[in-house]
């Protein structure tokens, strides 16, 4: 046996894995073997380190050197230069705008404003090793609770910490727990909701993949507090790695005697199992989720009765989000005061966000509540990619809403966001630059919700479909006066009448984009023009004859043969046949072809003529 001198932590979160992290890991194994270094260097697969945009990423200890975008070809150089000669490879380091290298992971601005509680071990330990989790203080909280505290005392700590549900609604965690705790039923259940379905959200997945034991420990503490003996992890089948890791964590905890009968010599016994969901968005709703676990169709039922009164198998049940559970061990260890010292009056602690869209540092971040959107997007996120400007941010996925530049200084907490038409949601943050068309964005989310509606209640099934039809109409240039008001009327009605959270919140993206970008809707309807040239029917392509060199390349490449002309006369597009594929623009060697906002007059005239003809026929 030999002492190890280097810990090589390779991020094996899903983002880095799809960027090729596994290949790199294998390459390291083979290169180290060739050079006879396997005894000196530990290769550790960790969960998500956060800066997914730079993946595959890795950190090399003891120095903490951070490498980005590593390829299998770089491995040889890293071993040769860094491991053998102690010279970190500069070209793989992260650089700032002045091309200064950031040597270690601690110096990187992306991490500076972050406070990691739930994600403390993500990217730092091997998620498949229970020992490494224990080394960071793991299962200490569970032991403390079981040997020194009553269940009521445990709930009181959580109450004092001010922890609220991280799945979206922000319901105070202790209130739910208290309800089930006070219920005299013999049988109670605990469910961890890992059915993360928002487009662009990957907080829960990353936590389950990166630190499964933390979630498991959180669940056991919670189960002890409410008096449950059985727990379920409900995770969608689209998260195979998360499922594998949590199953392994359960197995390892059992082997270590941390799960099973009389844990830590107490009266508390606990078993947990994993249930996989088929990936329906509505199954993230707690009543639908419970039905899915019971083997029924994943449809929601009206509340009350709340699951805390009548849940799984009609017994009192708690459904908590993955991230909520991830906070619990640390709250127990560091105390409620420590946790509540972070955040705002009503929202305590930290929140994990998944930054996506047109932002430089796409990735997973954890920041204290109360941080402003500006800090989140520009300091942590690194601002907008390229020379673009910030336009809007969609918070809370398809249930949330859009906020704009005027809201950049809004502190992020449950109430502030809700007041302005967005919501905390589970933490998906989609950042958009000025090239995005908000009508199109609203249509995208509405399309998603229509797809995912379970169809049980009419407001959601029929109402959302109507909203989508109106949006499609506006988008294709057939919008008419009154459409905006109709969208608002439908949206507000659905919010009030839909059965479950999915339906109630689905109109939010439309309502909030109307609220803040009404002018765009009006331009689409009245001027038949999409200023950002996104909606194909409301823009067209044009050839600038003064720049056209008459090479005929566009004409030859056009799939509908709608471009004609000659070297002398230059080329023109027959707008009536153009399908707006953009091929001509891509192939033009002199960039003479550009997108122009607005429906072309020829197309407009044709449509009007057709409408009159149709009217005459009807008469």
């Amino acid at each position: 046996m030999s002492l190890k001198r280097i810990d090589l932590l390779i991020c094996c979160g899903s983002g880095c894995v799809s960027a090729g992290a596994i290949k790199i890991k294998d390459q390291f194994h083979s290169v180290l073997k060739d050079k006879g270094l396997t005894n000196e260097i530990n290769i550790i697969e960790t969960g998500c380190m956060g800066p997914c945009d730079y993946g595959p990423v890795m950190v090399i200890y003891p120095e903490g050197v951070f490498y980005k975008k590593v390829t299998p070809e770089d491995v040889e150089e890293i071993v040769e230069e860094h491991f053998l000669k102690g010279r970190p490879v500069k070209r793989l380091m992260l650089q700032d705008e002045e091309e200064k290298n950031y040597l270690t992971n601690k110096e990187i601005p992306f991490y500076q404003k972050q406070v990691k509680v739930a994600l403390a071990n993500c990217g730092y330990i091997d998620p498949e090793s229970i020992e490494e989790y224990i080394a960071t203080g793991g299962y200490e909280a569970l032991g403390t609770v079981l040997t020194t505290m009553t269940s009521q005392q445990t709930i009181d700590v959580i109450k004092k910490s001010g922890l609220r549900g991280r799945g979206g609604g922000g319901f105070p965690t202790h209130l739910k727990w208290q309800m089930v705790h006070d219920n005299p039923s013999e049988e109670k259940y605990f469910i961890c909701n890992g059915d993360e379905g928002d487009p662009g959200a990957f907080m829960d997945r990353s936590l389950l993949e990166g630190d499964p034991h933390r979630v498991l420990e959180g669940m056991m503490i919670a189960a002890y507090a409410i008096g449950a003996k059985n727990g379920f992890f409900y995770i969608r089948a689209e998260y195979p790695l998360a499922i594998k890791r949590i199953k392994l964590a359960i197995q390892k905890a059992k082997e270590a005697g941390l799960m099973g009968e009389n844990i830590f010599g107490s009266n508390f016994s606990f078993e947990a199992e994993v249930r996989t969901g088929a990936g329906a968005f509505v199954c993230g709703e707690e009543t639908a989720l419970i039905h899915s676990i019971e083997g029924q169709r994943g449809n929601p039922t009206p509340k009350p009765p709340y699951p805390a009164v009548q849940g799984l198998l009609k017994k009192p049940t708690i459904v908590n989000n993955v991230e909520t559970l991830g906070n619990i061990p640390t709250i127990i260890l560091k105390g409620a005061e420590w946790f509540s010292s972070m955040g705002t009056q009503t929202s305590k602690g930290t929140k994990v966000f998944a930054l996506t869209g047109d932002v430089r540092n796409t990735g997973l971040v954890e920041v204290p509540m109360g941080i402003t959107l500006r800090e989140l997007i520009f300091d942590v996120g690194g601002g907008i990619i390229g020379d673009h400007k910030f336009k809007a941010v969609q918070l809370g996925g398809p249930s949330g809403g859009c906020l704009t530049t005027q809201h950049l200084d809004v502190p992020i907490d449950y109430e502030s966001l809700k007041e302005r038409g967005a919501m905390m949601g589970s933490g998906g943050v989609i950042i958009m630059n000025e090239e995005k068309c908000m009508v199109n964005v609203a249509k995208f989310f509405m399309d998603f919700c229509v797809d995912e509606s379970c169809g049980k209640c009419a407001p959601c099934r029929i109402g959302l479909k109507q909203m989508l039809e109106i949006l499609k109409r506006i988008d294709s240039g057939n919008g008419k006066e009154g459409d905006i008001e109709e969208l608002q009327r439908l949206g507000e009605t659905i919010s009030k009448l839909a059965l479950c959270g999915l339906g109630q919140t689905a109109p939010n993206p439309v309502l909030s984009t109307i609220r803040y970008f009404r002018d765009e809707y009006e331009a689409h309807i009245r001027d038949k023009s999409c200023a950002n040239k996104v909606c194909l029917d409301l823009m067209h392509f044009e050839i600038d004859k003064s720049r056209c060199i008459g090479c005929s390349l566009c004409s030859r490449k056009c799939p509908t043969k709608c471009i004609s002309g000659s070297r002398e006369d230059k080329y023109t597009i027959n707008q009536l046949s153009c399908i707006k594929c953009g091929t001509c623009m891509d192939v033009c060697p002199v960039k003479a072809i550009s997108k122009v906002p607005g429906m072309h007059p020829d197309v407009k005239a044709k449509r009007e003529a057709e409408a009159i003809k149709q009217q005459n026929q009807d008469e």
């Binding site: 046996m1 030999s2 002492l3 190890k4 001198r5 280097i6 810990d7 932590l9 005894n39 000196e40 530990n42 200890y61 003891p62 120095e63 903490g64 053998l84 000669k85 102690g86 010279r87 730092y124 330990i125 020992e131 490494e132 224990i134 080394a135 203080g137 299962y139 200490e140 032991g143 403390t144 040997t147 270590a256 005697g257 941390l258 830590f264 010599g265």
Partner: protein
């Protein structure tokens, strides 16, 4: 596992395994691994450090490396860095000398003055 004391035992052992990632170490051994250091046998020196430290189960020692130090004529060069004490630099190291440094300096705290080529920063 039945008590918090059991957990603590596992934790201490596991922390030991993870000390490279920022745990507390008493002594840091830094081997100069530039081209000339390697040419003069720095790899063997480092290997000996790693093996001897593991064999003796010295849990609070960290071995790491650095690039060229500029003392080419004295390679292989090794720094011994101890919290609150001036840095000791040994030169012309060999595996035999390493064993002596471990016994005298690292275990017993007596600097092997014969091998020292520089002290302080």
């Amino acid at each position: 596992m039945k008590t918090l004391a059991d957990l603590k035992k596992i934790r201490e052992k596991a922390q030991e395994e993870m000390k490279l990632r920022g745990g507390t170490t008493r002594i840091k051994v830094v081997v100069g691994m530039g081209t000339s250091g390697i040419a003069m046998g720095a790899r063997e020196v480092m290997k000996t450090f790693l093996e001897e430290i593991a064999n003796r189960n010295l849990t609070d020692v960290l071995v790491t490396q650095t690039g060229e130090k500029g003392l080419s004529s004295l390679e292989p060069v090794v720094d011994i860095i101890e919290e609150g004490k001036p840095k000791i630099t040994y030169g012309n190291m060999t595996p035999e000398k390493v064993k002596k440094v471990i016994v005298e300096h690292i275990v017993n705290g007596r600097i092997v003055s014969d091998y020292v080529v520089a002290t302080g920063n």
